[in-house]
Amino acid sequence: MSDIVLKDVCKEYRIGDISIRAVDRISFTIQWGEFAVILGPSGAGKTTLLNLLGGMDHATSGEILVRDRNIVPLNDKQLTLYRRHDVGFVFQFYNLMPGLTALENVELAVQVCKDPLDPKEMLERVGLKDRMNNFPAQLSGGEQQRVAIARALCKNPALLLCDEPTGALDSNTGRMVLKLLQDMGSDMGKTVVVITHNAAIVPAAQRVIRMKNGAVQEIMENDQPVKMEEISW
């Protein structure tokens, strides 16, 4: 099976006469089923890159091949369907629906999916068996993020994209969330891409892409990733 391939991807923003290149001719490949980390200081263009990969934004030029399909020329509707069937997102601030319980938040995602997994089972797997009927406001940050992960995975996407998933969490909770992502990814055979500025998790990743000023600085492969719980922060 082919991989995720980026070729000369650029993203430019125009503000008046000035154009800013947030992503500058980026090329890399992520193997299918890998746990990859995109690392870099703030303003490096990590989030922009992830948005392009997740079909939330249009690239200005270049190719993004996901399972041999180039998603750059897709229109809005096709991108929507791509997000629906192929991608799961996890955000820094969870973005759960405040009016829905944990279980309903997961159910919401599977409403529109072709081949979803069972929401209850998924919440059990992320350790929220007893919290299913709570509203987001009644959950801790870590619990909310686990609901978000369950919601993303339940859609049964091939690709799980996480934008600073531990950014709003304390270190212990953050580590538990990352462990969950790592474990679920390998158990279910998902490709997981995590954005972070926290270099501590580098040893746990199979592939690390370092970015700076919109460009790739370094790509490292790691055949022997360590378990998340063995990492010290």
Partner: protein, 776 residues
């Protein structure tokens, strides 16, 4: 160095930018403020304008306080003038005459005072008052209807005599602010007018009326007793100004408008409060971090509270000013022009009461400013540090529906989501419901008024009156004259009718009422009782109409005292109550009338029925003064309806704007409060169509839930408005066409759909990256 004062300037600049950025909600609140002010001030300026006009008319014409009708002897006026409390008294000749040479042969009421008039003086608008013999001041509206001008000659026949009256002036008599023919609810100016003639012109006729004014603080009851002692009580009627039909009706109308003007705008004020409350809440909410920053910069709590209150005040001020302009230039003139069809208010203009306007504007500013203040206070209650942090997720409680698992489980997923979202946001829920109810109710008032009038007059002319034409006969036509009229016209059927005015002792005083005497076993007027059964004026006693019964609390079996023109009196009982849309009064069979022995049977109309009548052949018969087909009579009453259509359009405009503003604001609130949720849905791969289903269906549901309540509320409101807005000779049962209800429902749902469509287009352009990046 000069110390800098507290920096208010940057806040001012911020406010101007806030207004610009949120111009849609600014406009929405402003519109609601504008509509409520326009309604309130419109009614206010109308009733004040009408009242001022009436007062000016009454004062200008030195309107009498008391009218005495009957047989007036030569010295009775002088004697009455001597009664303690009477300022002045004057005799008058009042008689109805037939005009000659005008289309439709209109009737004209002629009035002449004993000497130059000093009580009930004519008010001349054009030309001069009549002074020389055979001059007259003609009713302005009648002159306009027949294109008569000062200097023209009007030929009238009074009994056997023919008079050529030179029109010296055009104007009005204030006592005829409402001028209808005896027994008619609405007489168009084309067919009935009045003229005030110079002294001596009608010298050959006896005086039949004394009009008198009272001194200030005179004891009216004592004066009336004094008059009754002087004159034979059985031969005269004494009417006080307040009981004079035209004066009474117009005064009532002013009160009614006043009351309506207080009730109807209330709804708009309520909506204005709710909308401001929610919109301001959102504005402040969106500026959470900004408020935090301003706090951090050291701006005081009070400065910021004032800042947000000012925003509300600014909106209300703009709305109030606009509303006053709309009231002054649009709404009030329109209402007045409707009133002008029923009353005669020459030169009446809306009267803007500055103090009321200021109070309304201040009230609105208080509401919107207060709403801004209160919603800002909630945000400002937090410590600055918290304000700079992202907002914790909203507390959500289970809604009551979830406690009924049976129902809850049956709801679809989107149903659950919608239900919870709707019920957790109560302010929005109420606003949506009130907006829908208000919109539907107002539209129902508009459509209902039109339907009620159209149905009542339609029913009256199509189903109640069964004759095809009415020929008005000169009083005292010989026996059998009606028959010859019918024969000449080629009518298949003919019945005679006698219309006369009658004094009835009601509520402790003599009141002038119309009496209709019909042939025994008449067939040409279809009377019905409350339950729709056909009834006839009985062989003894009087049948009274619902309007009379309601006005004086009369029931079947009640005794009535009657007398006519100071001749005779009689007692009878109410034997039937008739439901009749127009022509309220007393109905008698010829048999019952004969038993009363009040006046001899003297028919003054022939009701004709026939398929192929030639009415032109009877038009110029000597004893026939006027021939009208039933359709022509119907057309006359439609004049009223046409003016009413304008009011209907206006009400639909008002309610439509109300609905659009409320729905748009609701949708906008729903959209901007949930932009993160919407963006999340988009990230999850929901198509715009699917998002609409989850989010926008809410508005439609609100509309559909509010609709029946609005219809019910509208039904009651319309009943009230019909009662209040219509002059008392009309007795229109409420009627709303099913098609109107369907149209109202369609329009309301249509408004909701239009707003959804506008909002739905925004879904496509939600920038997920932007919406999810910024944390409040």
């Amino acid at each position: 160095m000069v110390k800098a004062r507290r920096p208010a300037r940057p806040l001012r600049a911020k406010m101007i930018r806030d207004v610009k950025a949120g111009w849609k909600s600014f406009i929405a609140i402003m519109l609601i403020c504008l509509l409520s002010t326009a309604l309130f001030m419109g009614f206010d300026a109308t009733w004040r304008g009408m009242e001022q006009n009436l007062q000016a008319q009454f004062a200008g014409g030195n309107l009498a306080d008391v009218w005495v009708n009957g047989r007036i002897s030569d010295n009775s006026a002088r004697k009455i003038a001597l009664i303690d409390g009477v300022e002045s008294a004057q005799r008058r000749v009042v008689i109805e005459a037939e005009t000659d040479g005008l289309p439709g042969d209109p009737t004209i009421k002629l009035l002449m005072s004993d000497g130059m008039p000093h009580v009930n003086k004519p008010v001349v608008y054009e030309g001069v008052a009549p002074e020389k013999k055979d001059q007259c001041m003609l009713q302005q509206r009648f002159a306009e209807a027949h294109h008569l001008a000062v200097g023209d000659v009007l030929t009238v026949s009074v009994g056997e005599r023919e008079l050529d009256l030179t029109i010296s002036g055009l104007g009005i008599l204030p006592e005829f602010v409402m001028f209808n023919k005896n027994g008619e609810s609405y007489t168009p100016a084309e067919s009935y007018g009045y003229a005030f003639v110079s002294p001596e012109t009608l010298g050959f006729l006896p005086y039949s009326e004394i009009t008198l004014t009272l001194k200030p603080n005179a004891d009216t009851a004592k004066v009336v007793r004094g008059i009754r002692d002087l004159l034979d009580e059985n031969q005269t009627t004494v009417t006080l100004r307040a009981d004079k039909t035209a004066v009474k009706n117009s005064a009532e109308q002013v009160d009614k408008l006043h009351a309506l003007g207080l009730v109807v705008p209330l709804l708009f004020f309520l909506v204005a409060t709710l909308i401001t409350w929610t919109t301001m809440g959102r504005l402040v909410e969106n500026q959470r971090t900004q408020i935090g920053s301003l706090f951090a910069l050291g701006y005081g709590r009070r400065t910021l509270l004032v800042h947000y209150a000012e925003y509300g005040v600014l909106i209300a001020l703009a709305g109030a000013l606009g509303g006053i302009a709309v009231a002054r230039q649009g709404f009030a003139p329109l209402l007045l022009s409707f009133l002008q069809t029923i009353y005669y208010l020459p030169g009446a203009a809306p009267s803007l009461h500055i103090l009321t306007a200021v109070i309304v504007a201040l009230g609105l500013m208080f509401i919107t400013g207060g709403a801004g203040l209160l919603s800002a206070r909630n945000a400002l209650a937090e410590v600055p540090a918290n304000l700079l942090r992202p907002r914790p997720p909203k507390k959500v409680k289970r809604i009551f529906l979830e406690r009924i698992p049976f129902l809850w489980r049956r709801l679809s997923f989107s149903g659950k989501m919608i239900a919870r979202n709707m019920l957790r946001n109560r302010v929005r829920l109420f606003m949506g419901l009130i907006g829908t109810i208000g919109c539907t109710a107002l539209m129902l008032v508009g459509f209902g008024l039109r339907d009620t009038m159209a149905h009542a007059t339609g029913n009256y002319y199509a189903n109640v009156l069964l004759y095809d034409a009415r020929a008005t006969l000169i009083g005292g036509a010989p026996e059998g004259y009606a028959k010859s009229v019918a024969n000449r016209a080629g009518a298949a059927g003919c019945e005679e009718e006698m219309v006369t005015s009658l004094d009835v002792f009601l509520d402790g005083d003599w009141k002038s009422k119309q009496a209709f005497v019909l042939e025994n076993g008449q067939q040409l007027i279809d009377f019905r009782d409350e339950s729709g059964n056909r009834i006839e004026p009985p062989a003894s006693g009087a049948a009274i109409t619902r309007g009379v019964a309601d006005d004086y609390g009369l029931h079947v079996g009640d005794a009535l005292r009657l007398h006519t023109n100071g001749e005779r009196d009689a007692e009878t009982v109410v034997t039937r109550i008739i439901d009749l849309e127009m022509d309220q009064g007393l109905y008698f069979s010829r048999e019952a009338w004969r038993k009363l022995d009040l006046l001899p049977w003297a028919p003054n109309a022939a009701l004709l029925k026939g398929d192929s009548m030639d009415l032109t052949r009877i038009g110029d018969m000597d004893g026939v003064t006027r021939v009208q087909t039933r359709d022509q009579e119907h057309d006359d009453s439609n004049t009223l309806l046409q003016t009413l259509n304008m009011v209907v359009v206006l009400l639909i405009g008002f309610s439509g704007s109300l609905a659009l503003v409320v729905y748009y604001n609701l949708g906008q609130l729903n959209y901007s409060e949930r932009i993160r949720e919407l963006a999340s849905l988009k990230v999850l791969g929901f198509l715009p169509r699917e998002m609409k289903k989850l989010v926008l269906r809410e508005n439609i549901i609100l509309t559909c839930v509010g609709l029946p309540f609005g219809l019910v509320a509208g039904f009651y409101l319309q009943n009230l408005v019909t009662e209040v807005a219509l002059p008392s000779p009309f007795q229109f049962p409420q009627h709303v066409e099913p098609s109107s209800i369907a149209l109202i429902a369609l329009l309301t749902i249509g408004f909701s759909l239009v707003v959804n469509w506008i909002l739905g287009r925004k879904f496509r352009t939600i920038d997920m990256v932007e919406a999810l990046k910024s944390v409040d």
